[in-house]
Amino acid sequence: MVGEEHVSMIPAAPSEVWSAEVNGQNQEVLAPSNAILLDVLRDKAGCLGVKRGCDMGTCGCCTVLIDGEPRLSCLTMAQDAAGCSITTVEGLADGAHLAPIQQCFADHGGSQCGFCTPGFLITSQALLTKNSNPTDKEVACAIEGNLCRCTGYQQIIESIQAAAAIHRGESESARPASDAHPDPHPSGPEEPTMPPGHAR
């Protein structure tokens, strides 16, 4: 067959020390030179909340915050993010207490199958940090790089707007007023069951 020699049998990539601050903890791991950030975060740093979706920048499931900016970890070389402060979805919550954006996604049906949710949470958190009073159009523009096949996006936009109201201080509770099932543990368990960033 033409081109049978196409698979190049070159040796494996050399490994290098990779260090960065992941969810507030310093991580120093040995990563191959050709590794993308997604692989290092999932396989070496244990952040399984970073999802591998399309692996080509289309779906946005692998979005993480690099120095506060949402970036696609599947299209970022790990070495380019070395030394940066990286936040994955595990780093959004404060111990056992969900961040407002997470609680709003749960309350307003922003998450259905949940696979795209980590990417949406990170992208919307970055939007709300920059602009706590976005219009629906600004929200739609911010999440244009994230794909969701379940919700039809309406509930996601509602969740982000509800979280924006909390960020602005207009609404204290993350829950809608008509909630029929109040949280039995409104303050959450006293100790987090697992350190953030190490949930497996």
Binding site: P70, L75, T76, Q79, C141
Partner: protein
Amino acid sequence: MLMPPFELHRPSTVEEACSLAAKLIESGQDFDWIAGGTDLIPNYKWHINTKPHVISLAGIDGVSTISMNEIGCMARLHDIAEGGDAHPLVAEAASKVASSLIRRNATLGGNLCLDTRCFWYNQAEEWRSSIDWCHKCDCGTGSDCRVIPNQNELCVATYQGDVAPTLMVLDATVHLIGPNGARSVLLHDFYQLDGMTRNILQPGEFMLKITLPEDVEDWTGSYRKLRVRESWDFPEAGAAAAWKKGDRSTLRVATTALESIPRRHDEEVANSNGDVKAICDAIYKSTKPVNNTALPPRYRRNMIKVLVKRACEE
């Protein structure tokens, strides 16, 4: 999809990058440049023309400047689109590239040197092996072109960058640098009609920056793009037009995503005496898209008339 094995080099100065490239060429080792990686990394994951070495330009300081007259190769499209420092026409085109997340990685240099695309080429390795490869992905082994069979002269993969036509109508100059020194050419002379060679970059050379003429602030224009999804997609056809404010006789038009290179249509504009309809018809006659992107070529060819007309509207 696993990354193929390669060694990533991260030089910190332009000189270091050039000497690294010279060293690799001397030892006969193939390599690629990587800027933002939004096109190269997916291609590598699909094992499309992978190389054992990759030189990253991300660690080089001072090559991401953005101003009205000069943009560095590593300037991110997000910063060009939203920073407010670049020419409004360039910012408009940059804001239409892919999605906001991809624009935060994508760079101007990468967008201008974008690999050409074709639905027989941008596929996983197993898929390409099942069709016995194509002319582009299997350079030199004699595979036939799948788009236009029985010709092995020209690769017809489509250039699908957005920013190039807008820089072309603004008369941009590209500055290249490599182991054999620096040189500058006009952007519309930078591209070469072949989907495989694509541009005049020599081995080891890379694009350092683009510069725009002194009076570029007096120029205005617009960029129109046809794509499948409005939120993000490669252009299926694109047209940029620019003219000096208050002087329509200076009109320039360029198109993209219709063939292997973006093209400036000086002849068509000169022969039309400023009549936009005549320009549209002349460009329609001179372009011949092939069936290798998402939309059918006849639709793309018909739409270029509409896009040029809208881009020329004041």
